[in-house]
Amino acid sequence: MASLPGMNDLTSALGQALGLVAGGDAALGHIVLLSLRVSLTAVGLAALVGLPLGALLAVARFPGRGGVVVALNALMGLPPVVAGLLIYILLSRSGPLGSLGLLFTPTAMVIAQALLIAPILAALTRQVLEAMWEEYAEQLRSFGAGPWRAVPTLLWDGRFALLTVLLAGFGRASAEVGAVMIVGGNIEGFTRVMTTAIALETSKGDLPLALALGLVLMAIVLTVNALAQGLRDLAARQAG
């Protein structure tokens, strides 16, 4: 393996990752829990806005709808750093929402991530539900249900597909580093999450530790996905 120096880093990273998890490191535990809470809260917040908005776009026809859809699709590519800067300027003590004192707190990170993923949730929700609406539209109108009544119906009937949408949002939120670094400040024990910890260890040149943290992050995301998938399958078997 001497000819492949990178291999040593990889095996060392894997070993460290296992050691970190097995060792039950308290600091790592805090970072992991904070990552989960921030990203899951952000997904929940973004879902409150993004899902109904996406569903409404799927059923409603109004002038300018095409523009909204294009804008949403474009916002899916909003660079995290830009979202972070926007929230930074808003939440800074010198900014319009400065009196809330939220900059460099987990709440600020939640807001930034929610801003990042709400357009993703809305755009994907629209895509998923538009196909369903095509099938449902006549029947629901025959029942006398207008677009407003159709929104909750589609959201409920699309719940299994929408779970995948939520997971996509969670994936993006938990993998994101640029925005949470700016608005959270990567404060040890307070706003440090998996991704900012990885960025920190990378800049300290401890590549194996950074990679080990990355492996732990991937394992967490994988676990969340597996749990959600299992839940989905269970519920799908019950409800069809």
Binding site: L34, R37, V38, L40, T41, G44, L45, S92, R93, S94, G95, G98, S99, G101, L103, F104, T105, P106, T107, V110, R159, G185, N186, I187, E188, G189, F190, T191, L200, T202, S203, K204, G205, D206, L207, L209, L231, L234, A235, Q238, A239
Partner: protein
């Protein structure tokens, strides 16, 4: 069942993300954070006072900006000129010396500029420029970047003439700068603390050290509570008083990596506002 679980998840979301605690926010530099100094001294302060210290580690320029915007209570950085301007503009202060550390020049093992072992920074930089040997600059308005630019000036060299060729400004922190230098076999200037804690050296080693011009002064100041009423004046001042006190100074002196002392306490009385 799914509905009940969703409801449960929704209910759990608004729970506070962290317990409320007595704390101050300190805008500081990557060198103090990444060298491990804060990890060593802050628990001592917190134990003595019950005040948690939240450190946002940035370049000195950014850290001063955070202070200007009122987003921190205390600024703890290392660019004396910029700090004095910060104080003169009324953003905070008074400024107090806290400690020194030193910079070193690091470079690749094959040393294309032939400067290894030198103690004369100016001469070393002249030879790097003459050899057009690659040099990675922070390029991020940090204290280290400012110090580097002053050293070039003292050497009578304008490195920006080599911009895009051998003089490479990456606009990032100390760690990424060292990572880049290691990957490209380039020279770079770094604070000793980050260097000692840095793990991805590959072929890099120290080539120039010990020049008096390489010493680097850290200063601390309270963000002006008259401008930003939410600044935690009492607790912030408590931190400043502690770090320049014998206890704080001893804590700084006791931090070592591989037995090597990184920071040399030299606290002074508050500087008069000029």
């Amino acid at each position: 069942m799914l509905r009940r679980l969703l409801l449960l998840a929704l209910l759990a979301l608004p729970l506070p993300l962290a317990a409320q605690e007595r704390s101050i926010t300190v805008a500081s530099t990557t060198s103090t954070e990444q060298s491990g100094l804060f990890g060593h001294i802050l628990p001592i302060f917190t134990r003595e006072t019950g005040i948690a210290v939240r450190v946002v580690a940035l370049g000195t320029g950014q850290a001063l900006d955070v202070g200007r915007r009122g987003d921190a209570d205390v600024v703890f950085v290392h660019d004396r000129v910029a700090e004095q301007r910060f104080v003169a503009e009324g953003h905070g202060g008074p400024r107090q010396h806290v400690m020194l550390n030193d910079f070193v020049l690091v470079g690749p093992a094959d040393d294309p500029a032939g400067i290894a072992g030198s103690r004369d920074t100016a001469a070393a930089l002249q030879r790097i420029a003459a050899a057009r040997a690659p040099f990675i600059s922070r390029g991020d308005r940090s204290g280290t970047h400012a110090a580097e630019l002053r050293l070039w000036q003292q050497a009578g060299v304008d490195p920006t003439a080599g911009r895009g060729a051998w003089y490479r400004e990456i606009g990032q922190g100390m760690g990424p700068t060292l990572n880049t230098a290691a990957a490209q076999g380039a020279y770079a200037m770094t604070d000793r603390g980050t260097w000692l804690a840095f793990r991805n050296r590959q072929g890099l080693r120290v080539v120039v050290e010990g020049d008096a011009r390489l010493f680097n002064q850290y200063g601390v100041m309270l963000v002006n509570p008259q401008r930003h009423s939410h600044v935690k004046q009492a607790d912030g001042q408590r931190f400043i008083d502690w770090i320049v006190s014998p206890a704080g100074q001893a804590a700084i002196a006791s931090y070592r990596i591989n037995g090597e002392q990184l920071f040399f306490p030299n606290a002074t009385q508050p500087e008069p506002v000029s």
